[in-house]
Amino acid sequence: MSKKRKVWASVLSQRMLAPEIYDMWLASDLAAVAKAGQFIGVYPMDQAHLLPRPISICEIDAERSALRIVYRIAGAGTAEFASWQPGQKAALLGVLGNGFPLQEARHKKVVLMGGGIGIPPMLELARELAEYAADVTIIVGYQNDQLFLKEDLEKYGRVLVATEDGSAGTRGNVLTAMKAEEVEAEVIMACGPMPMLRAIKAFAGERGIPAYISLEERMACGVGACLGCVCKTTRKDAHSHVNNARICTEGPVFEAGEVDI
């Protein structure tokens, strides 16, 4: 794994995709070593809030040496990020986390599932899977018809939409859509809210489908030192010896069967 670093980046572009949802491209050489499913820590400039915000990588442009993040305003830190304009300096910590196991999808029918602010990492994942001769179906779940990133995703596979209010695609969640459209899956890769991931773990478990899910938890250091962001594991992990894997380091992506969520 590449060395983690704290680096200065600069904002290339910033736009609102949907209410509270922003899309920012950052120029940073971290792009050279980043991969799908990893995340970066983004630091607020205002020194009243000190900790880096873990934000998943939505797209990587190695040629331009740029990273794209699509994030939701959840507090003072992300609200500040949304105010940044092109040229703004930004401190980043990265690249963090393990990423998705792309090779598990080789020559397989792979279903990517993203819910809400768990959708962004699916874009880079779908893009990278193009090289793995996989049959990619992407199922995205939204609250309403604010279908951010849908068009970007369609470049890399068949996209099915589920919305909680039924305003677009199948009414319900990503699994409702999967069943409704009778989508076949040999591998599942997903990111989204915990209830969605629990449902996917159960669904995949019953059918014996390998599923890789990306977890979220409040983090402090982001590099595995503080033990803030742990999740229960089914097998004793090498690091903690108490069935606590660090989402920032052993994760954020886990085989669903390995974690007790």
């Binding site: 060395k3 983690k4 670093r5 704290k6 630091y43 020194q47 009243a48 809030h49 000190l50 900790l51 880096p52 830190g77 910590l93 938890e217 409040r218 983090m219 402090a220 250091c221 982001g222 590099v223 595995g224 030192a225 503080c226 033990l227 803030g228 962001c229 742990v230 999740c231 690091h239 903690s240 010896h241 108490v242 069935n243 606590n244 380091t249």
Partner: protein, 309 residues
């Protein structure tokens, strides 16, 4: 000699017979056993690495959420998750001994016997000092109970001293009425040094969910927000006892570190700020050298307790 080859500058400090190349250490629980930060920091440049607390058996720690950000700092309620002394001796100690830095092992327990077992197991290990954590606010039994009452602090300190093969640092809690009473009790019981402050007990409530942000309800407050309290307690404690004081609490830069030295600390530790700027420790080592050069201070001893009364 400093990094620029300036022969005139001495940054070495000696605590209980152990000499550190500089007074900059890591605060227990914020640096793992060094491994996680070796991407960022050359451990050879640190005065010492103080490890995450280790117990006689593995501890699972508290449920999540374990951390929360607050103004100028953070709350944590990790609950001293650790793999236990066996894994620690097999994995962490061999890793740390590769580096030219001192190793201070932070010891935690739920009963005096727990502490004593760890202290004994470490007796033959290549460890320079022991730091006894009797001030963690996040574990129900033991820990804090020992650190907030002079009698129990005296008792556990003297019993550990009777068994310890390495010099013993007692890490004190700031959640007390009079820090000098605790400092004196530790000294009277034979402690070789004291370190302070551990975290201040705090709480954060999510007003929209109307729930506690931390699963443990309360957590330890650390970061720049607590620095004035830490400097005050280091000043009071270092004037109440003759044993050395290791100061910590919100140190973010060389100026902060020097503030603790002037207040009376013989060494300092960087805690939460490692999470904010992983290069903090080494930047402080360099910043102290620059300060000494700017003010023509040849020996760092001139700074320790050097505030003008």
């Amino acid at each position: 000699m400093d990094r620029k080859g300036n022969q005139k500058i001495n940054t070495k400090v000696t605590i209980a017979g152990v000499t550190f190349k500089n007074p900059v250490m890591t605060a227990s629980g914020t640096f793992g056993s060094g491994m996680e930060y070796s991407d960022f920091v050359d451990l050879n440049r640190l005065g010492a690495v103080v490890t995450k607390g280790v117990a006689n058996v593995p501890w699972p720690g508290n449920p999540t959420p374990r951390v929360a950000e607050v103004y100028g700092g953070m709350l944590n309620a990790i609950g001293l998750q650790n793999p236990g002394i066996d894994v620690f001796l097999e994995r962490d100690i061999p890793f740390l001994t590769q580096f030219d830095t001192k190793v201070i092992v932070n010891v935690c327990g739920k009963s005096v016997e727990d502490y004593l077992e760890v202290v004994e197991r470490l007796g033959d290990a290549p460890v320079d000092m022991l730091e006894i954590n009797v001030s963690c606010p996040n574990v129900k039994e033991g820990a804090i109970a020992f650190g907030q009452r002079t009698e129990s602090l005296y008792d556990i300190t003297s019993r550990i001293k009777a068994k310890a093969r390495q010099p013993v640092i007692m890490k004190l809690s700031p959640n007390v009425t009079d820090i000098t009473e605790l400092a004196k009790a530790a000294e009277a019981a034979g402690a070789d040094a004291i370190s302070l402050i551990n975290t201040l007990t705090g709480m954060k409530i999510d007003v929209h969910r109307r729930t506690f942000v931390l699963a443990n309800k309360t957590g330890g407050l650390s970061g720049p927000a607590i620095k004035p309290v830490a400097v005050r307690m280091v000043y009071q404690a270092s004037h109440a006892v003759k044993i050395p004081v290791i100061g910590m609490g919100g140190i973010a830069n060389a100026g902060d570190a020097i503030e603790f030295l002037l207040a009376g600390a013989s060494a300092v530790a960087v805690g939460a700020m490692n999470f904010v700027n992983p290069y903090t420790t080494t930047e402080i080592v360099e910043g102290i050298e620059d300060y000494m050069e700017n003010y023509g201070i040849e020996d760092i001893a001139e700074l320790i307790g050097g505030v003008r009364e």
